[in-house]
């Protein structure tokens, strides 16, 4: 399966040139770009690991691309996403987020149905990768 989080998951994986163009767009909006990575991509996992702080004062996409390269090298076989944070009043939140690295294989999630009263079910999603190994070893080839 292919996890379709982020705003470009239905397109073929972006090339570094395409990623740099999107980063440039974010910087033009005045947003701070940040890198995050995880091997627990559950949609309710809000807090991925931060690759350093959001780059508040960085204005050159090349700087982000350098950090991205370092992050990918240090964390192969994880999900990496680029977030763009807007600190203007009324937003103060992420304005754009897209995946820029995926593990080679994505086993996905199992839907667990707990039967309760009547016809009701309690649903929960479990990641196959998270279930089989601790953090750091989940997507090892």
């Amino acid at each position: 399966m292919r996890i379709t989080q982020g705003c470009f998951s239905f397109l073929p994986d972006l090339t570094d040139t395409q990623i740099a163009a999107q980063v440039n767009y974010c910087l033009e909006q005045g947003w701070a770009v940040a890198l995050e990575f995880t091997d627990d991509p559950h949609p309710r996992n809000t807090y991925w690991n931060m690759w350093g702080l959001p780059m508040f004062d960085l204005r050159d996409p090349a700087g982000v691309m350098g950090e991205l390269k370092a992050c990918r090298e240090a964390n192969p076989e994880t999900y990496v996403r680029i977030n763009a944070f807007d600190s203007t009043k009324g937003w103060e939140t992420v304005r754009m987020s897209f995946i820029v690295q995926r593990p080679t294989a994505e086993p996905g999630f199992r839907l667990v149905r707990q039967e309760t009263q009547g016809r009701m079910l309690r649903y929960t999603m479990e990641s196959y990768a998270v279930g089989r190994a601790p953090e750091g070893a989940r997507y090892a080839p």
């Binding site: 705003c7 239905f10 073929p12 767009y25 763009a84 939140t93 999630f109």
Partner: protein, 445 residues
């Protein structure tokens, strides 16, 4: 403007409060010199006075009938600070290009309104005046609501920012579709459509306005099967998904019951129809705050009073009231689509709401009617959307290059190619009824 023979306010109290009938302007409901206070509620009406009725007197009547006046003088006015309680019409202008129609501006003191109650506001502003005989027609065009008043409402239970944070979806419009056919599907078949559309790439699906609990699909069945579809699609895509469960019902007790069931099943969103009424909307908004729920409002019924330019209430005003009452989503119309909506005016509604959610009714038919199936239809929509966002961010002009961008994406995305082959040339090119007649005049700000 102002005709020389327009009756002026009678200032001598003995004459003013003599038993009998006076003109509304004589009673004090017209005051061309009135300077609205920052704390006043202001309303702009478009009025069409009956033949022979002076427009200023008609404007005064609107102010009178929407505040303290009745058809005759009452001495009991003198037990009150009646000058303050009277609404004042203070400006009138002919509507450009519309013979016999006038925009009139009316100011209301803040003390005329109860805090936190749209029911009270509407009972005043649109309670009596629209049936008033000297007017052939009347339309409430816009309102300015003072901050002090606005802060007595709680507003949307979730809001755009928190909704996106809950869903972890940023940087592109959210994509949704209404389930079709609107009526007749069983719960099991209906849930299938939900599942296919979400699995294919939509973020949300929704019930239509008249899906409640009919014999062909009782509400509990619908809720159960829809949530099966939602959760199955979420697990297979690793992405948050949702379905707007319509909890509109005959009583508040029943609506609460349905809302609680939706919550217990893990739904992140419920929906209600505008026809449940302002009080019910405010109550459901409070419930949603207490239960971490997004509230979607389907503007069912609004066309009965928003569409005609000379009579009713503009959707601009309805959007403002809904924002106060507290809904997270509302249908503001589509710039292109089968339903009424002038593109410029629709953009204005979005500005009122700062709504960044895109939901086009065309997506409903366009997703479900796709020649390769519902999943393919949803995928075609999602790919088209992401390709356009990517291109826009790269600095390309999507207005002129749009067709090329889509054609490029269709080269590797077969569902999109099939969609373009089927509907590439469809337009809904009818003239809109509700276009703006207002022409701004230069003013010294």
């Amino acid at each position: 403007m102002g005709a020389a023979d327009t009756p002026q306010q009678i200032l001598d109290p003995k004459k003013r409060y003599q038993a009998g009938v006076l003109k509304y302007a004589q009673m004090g409901y017209w005051n061309a010199d009135y300077a609205p206070k920052d704390t006043d509620v202001l309303a702009v009406f478009r009025i069409t006075p009956q033949e022979g009725v002076d427009p200023i007197e008609a404007a005064a009547a609107v102010a009178g009938e929407s505040s303290t006046a009745t058809w005759t003088v009452v001495w009991t006015d003198r037990l009150t600070a009646c000058d303050m309680y009277r609404a004042k019409a203070y400006r009138i202008e002919p509507v450009p290009g519309q013979e016999g129609q006038y925009f009139c501006w009316v100011a209301y003191d803040l003390d005329l309104f109860e805090e936190g109650s749209i029911a009270n506001l509407t009972a005043s502003i649109i309670g009596n005046v629209f049936s008033f005989k000297p007017l052939r027609a009347c339309r409430l065009e816009d309102m300015r609501l003072p901050v002090a008043y606005v802060k007595t409402f709680r507003g949307p239970p979730t809001g755009i920012v928190v909704e996106r944070e809950r869903l972890e979806k940023y940087g592109r419009p959210l994509l949704g579709a209404t389930m079709k056919p609107k009526l007749g599907l069983s719960g099991k078949n209906y849930g299938r459509v939900v599942y296919e559309a979400l699995r294919g790439g939509l973020d949300f699906t929704k019930d239509d306005e008249n899906i409640n609990s009919q014999p062909f699909m009782h509400w509990r069945d619908r809720f159960l099967y829809c949530m099966e579809g939602v959760n199955q699609a979420a697990a297979q895509t690793g992405e948050s998904k949702g379905h707007y469960l319509n909890i509109t019902a005959g009583t508040m007790e029943e609506m609460y019951k349905r809302a609680e069931f939706a919550r217990d099943l893990g739904s992140c969103i419920v929906m209600i129809d505008l026809i449940v009424g302002w009080t019910a909307i405010q109550s459901m908004s409070n419930w949603c705050r207490d239960n971490d729920m997004i509230l979607h409002l389907h503007r069912a019924g609004h066309g009965t009073y928003t569409r005609q330019k000379n009579h009713g209430v503009s959707f601009r005003v309805i959007a403002k009231w809904l924002r106060l009452a507290g809904v997270d989503h509302l249908h503001a119309g589509t710039a292109v689509g089968k339903l009424e909506g002038d593109p410029m005016t629709v953009q204005g509604f979005y500005n009122v709401c700062r709504d960044t959610v895109t939901k086009q009714d065309l997506f409903g038919g366009g997703t479900i009617g796709h020649p390769m199936g519902i999943q393919a239809g949803a995928t075609a929509n999602r790919v088209a959307l992401e390709a356009m966002v990517l291109a826009r961010n790269e600095g390309r002009d999507i207005a002129s290059e749009g067709p090329q961008i889509l054609a490029d994406a269709a080269r590797w995305c077969q569902p999109l190619r099939a969609a373009l082959d089927t509907w590439g040339d469809i337009t809904f090119n009818y003239t809109s009824t509700d276009t703006s007649d207002f022409v701004p005049t230069a003013s010294v700000a």
